[in-house]
Symmetry: C5
Subunit: 258 residues, 5 copies
């Protein structure tokens, strides 16, 4: 479990609550049931207009991914591919068949199986590229759902505020104007926080995971095609290690050259 996102969400809320208490406010002032209903419900309803049910029901899965997914190290993938290449060189491509059951990455397994089945390299590459396109398309839709929620929640925050203001102005009572205004503003606050602390960052994190996953798939294709064409494992390692991050960011003095 990658805890950073979880800690980020919790800490932000704790900071806000502690500031409220430190200023002698009660957090209760900031709880407004109508606001929660309008922003949460409105956001969900508007997203239901954007996507069919088969996509909407994925929302809990998508949120779970943000908090619990873990990117796998590309280093392990490089080692696995190089070791497969070495086996293939020593014992022939067919020897990879017995290693298939230990490969838990379905994309890689699909590719290796096609190689051991003796499919033509062109067909192998085009099938794996179709897979990448399909996965990229599904990730794109997933991010789109969370973006739609992040885009509509401040809108319904504004709706809650406008609704509160109209109700207040149509029964104007000078003594209560401050409190009513406060409730109206809480709607805007909800919308802004829901979008910027949850759904827009959720969408950003899924994009990050998606980029990493697609990069792994690219690595997989380079490795599988190299294995199939009997390329030297040393060259395969060299190609794949180009993707490994150097220890220092942006300063490119890394082991790739070794």
């Amino acid at each position: 479990m990658e805890r950073t996102s979880f800690i980020g969400s919790i800490s932000a809320i704790l900071i806000l609550v502690s500031v409220i208490i430190a200023h002698g406010g009660s957090p209760g002032v900031f709880i407004d049931k109508a606001g929660i209903l309008i922003i949460g419900g409105g956001m969900l309803c508007a997203t239901m207009v954007c996507y069919p049910f088969e996509e909407i029901r994925k929302i809990p899965t998508l949120i779970r991914l943000v908090y619990f997914n873990k990117t796998r190290s590309p280093k392990d993938l490089v080692e696995l591919l190089v070791s497969l290449a070495e086996s293939a060189r020593r014992e022939g491509v067919l020897s990879l068949e017995k290693r298939l059951e230990n490969i838990d990455d379905s994309f890689l397994a699909t590719g290796i199986r096609m190689v051991t089945d003796g499919m033509a390299p062109d067909a192998v590459e085009s099938i794996l590229r179709l897979k990448i396109d399909a996965v990229a398309g599904r990730h794109h839709t997933g991010r789109g759902i969370l973006s739609a929620m992040g885009r509509t929640s401040p809108v319904f925050g504004l709706v809650a505020t406008l609704l509160g203001l109209v109700l207040m102005l149509s029964h104007m009572d000078p003594d209560k104007i401050g409190g009513s205004m406060a409730i109206a503003l809480v709607g805007t606050l909800y919308g802004v926080l829901t979008a910027n602390l949850f759904f827009l960052p959720f969408s950003d994190k899924l994009r990050y995971y998606s980029e990493k996953e697609l990069e792994r798939m690219e690595l997989g294709i380079i490795g599988i095609l190299g294995i199939q064409s009997g390329e030297n494992p040393r060259i395969i390692r060299m190609k794949l290690s180009m993707f490994l991050p150097p220890s220092e960011v942006l300063v490119e003095s890394e082991e790739g050259a070794a």
Copy 2:
């Protein structure tokens, strides 16, 4: 009929009405004929400046599509294409002619007919790609119309508000200022809801449908070209199944590898 969008629109309105009633407001306060006229009329008029009549008259059709269209399962398409490939392998490509009348997908039928007519593979692919481009262009225009409506409705909401404020300020009457302000704000509320509960999500849903439709067409081209070149139906199935969604989102451990 895919009911999610419909339920989304209705539920959002019910939530807003119930909040208004729960706060002792009458929904009547939120009905302002001038506002409806300015936002609805202004949105439509501005869109008429953007597009010629032959596009404008498609608006009802586009809205019907959002609420009533249903994406067809790519699984059925895969089965159909594989079964056509098997017939073609067993009985020759010409045997597909008698199956043409059972194919209700016009894109697929066009492609299969060209194959049975003995057209060159290059010509078949280029004609089908022209079709995809033309369909993508029409979908793009359709989404553009709904986007234009979604983009202009909050603008006319603001126009209604400004108009209300100017009228109010030019005959300032302290007793009525609250009520006039309320009416002015209702304009903004209309514009924001019209855009974010209807037209922008409509445009998003059409994009979703369009992506699915174009993906189906890509599947169709892969299948048709495979059939024409006498490719093994097992390989065609493998290629096409790359597009099928796994049971779990984003976790790619799917049957494609089987």
Copy 3:
């Protein structure tokens, strides 16, 4: 003449005027010479900083295009190209020379003339593609000018409002504050309407016309190259008919397959 844009502009203004009158306001309250000068002049001046004179002087032509241009039916173009292909097949490519004077589409005429001149197919295509790029570039600049006007007019609306507020606040007179505020807000109203009822939709409509024009040119290239290579007129018709719109939007069950 395609009247939709014209009717859209007029109707929107009539709606606003009728709402003002219905609310007992006089349209005169909404006429503010200083505002018109700042928004109209500022918008034009800022656009003059963006583009040189040879582009600025095209503004009246561009606006005329929005209101008076008419897209030509691609169906007629398809018929013309197929008939030319049939002549060429029957009587040879040189026979097209005598039909040149009846072709009022200069792009098509250029292409046919190059074919009758016996230029190589590669040269014909590359020259026509250069033309498409040049036309696309000019259309892009034309839309850019109208977009710049649409982008700057609300800005100068805000400038008018700020200017009005500063003048009002620096000679504060409680009795006049309402009227002054009203005049200040009229500036914002002008800017918002100028942009969203005129210049941004103008730019959208030019994009629409441009897309249609470039699509026609693509059709032209397909037809001309088909004619030059002596392709079967039936296949040329099939290719070109892929671009024709089906009678129903987004539902792709069209005559293209026939």
Copy 4:
């Protein structure tokens, strides 16, 4: 000198000053030293964080370009290239060497020299394309600097306003509230005008010049490669004339077909 931008900037300021005077305001009310310092200084400082010194020091040159640059007519370039092609056809490619000193366009001169040096056509094209990429990159950075200034000036206008409001609110004096508000609003006005009358249009104009310059370079490549391969000058003229603007915008009935 192309005076349109200059006239645009001056006229906009004259319009604003005349409106202020006509409303009995003194332009002095609109001069606020602190505002000028915050917007001008803040904009420049923020841009200094975006770019290193070697780019920042180009700002005066970039502004001079906006006001004083002049696009050269592509027509002259077409004539020059066709005349070079005719010389090359008549007297051989080496004869171009003596015309080199009369070519003041360094891109063209580089290309012609490579041709007379007998470099391979592939090398000539790839070197000229590298040049185009490098020039496009430099233009892109130049526009980026002016955009950054245009993007940050309204932000510092808002900073000036907020700063003014905080100072005013922390020493609240009912008699002065109008005047202080006026000063605060002047900050917003400065920021909006600086961005929309100067730096954003500057960036737009540089983009326009850049597009024209890159188009000239494309023309140059077509001409140079045509000359090198001994193409017929008539065909070179035909290709190049595709880029010339027709006398009427968007109506494509031009001399290119002649």
Copy 5:
């Protein structure tokens, strides 16, 4: 060290402080601990939801890069590559091995080593291009983190303001309303400045560095492939010098033609 960014940040703060003092305000009015906590903490927490820990921990390194990185002159790289090309021509490609230890650019060293190892040109190019893609991807993520901070800091500035307003309105005390409003506005000021003086310009500067770094890599590939194919050093210099900036911006009359 490239000091421009550093001077920009410091100067902007000095300008603001001096304006505050000149207007008789005390800078202390602008220091609000709760605001600092909400904007700084909220920005960091929201960014933690966007990215996993392995990216978040790079923030200090990224900021150090903005202030302390220095772009290396492409001129030196051109000289180095041309000198390597001359050695390779004179003494053979293997002679480059002994110069490897003096090359501190790891990308170049990787490339030269592959050449001296006798790897095929295709493999060399594809490995170096993989490296460029990987580096571009890492730079993209780095910029994304700083952009996320720049995008969320004004949001939390708004959150601080809303929170302050709600607290103020729920205990309305007419005497303190000015001071409370001032504190609320300071939150917006913090958010706007944090974004526009720091994190958004940081992201812009990283993009600038990234473009320069990737351009250097492109130069490196051109040089390495030229060396491997035994291209004339004069032609290599000509190709590479196309990237060198002319002394004058946008005026392309440079030494490249010499």
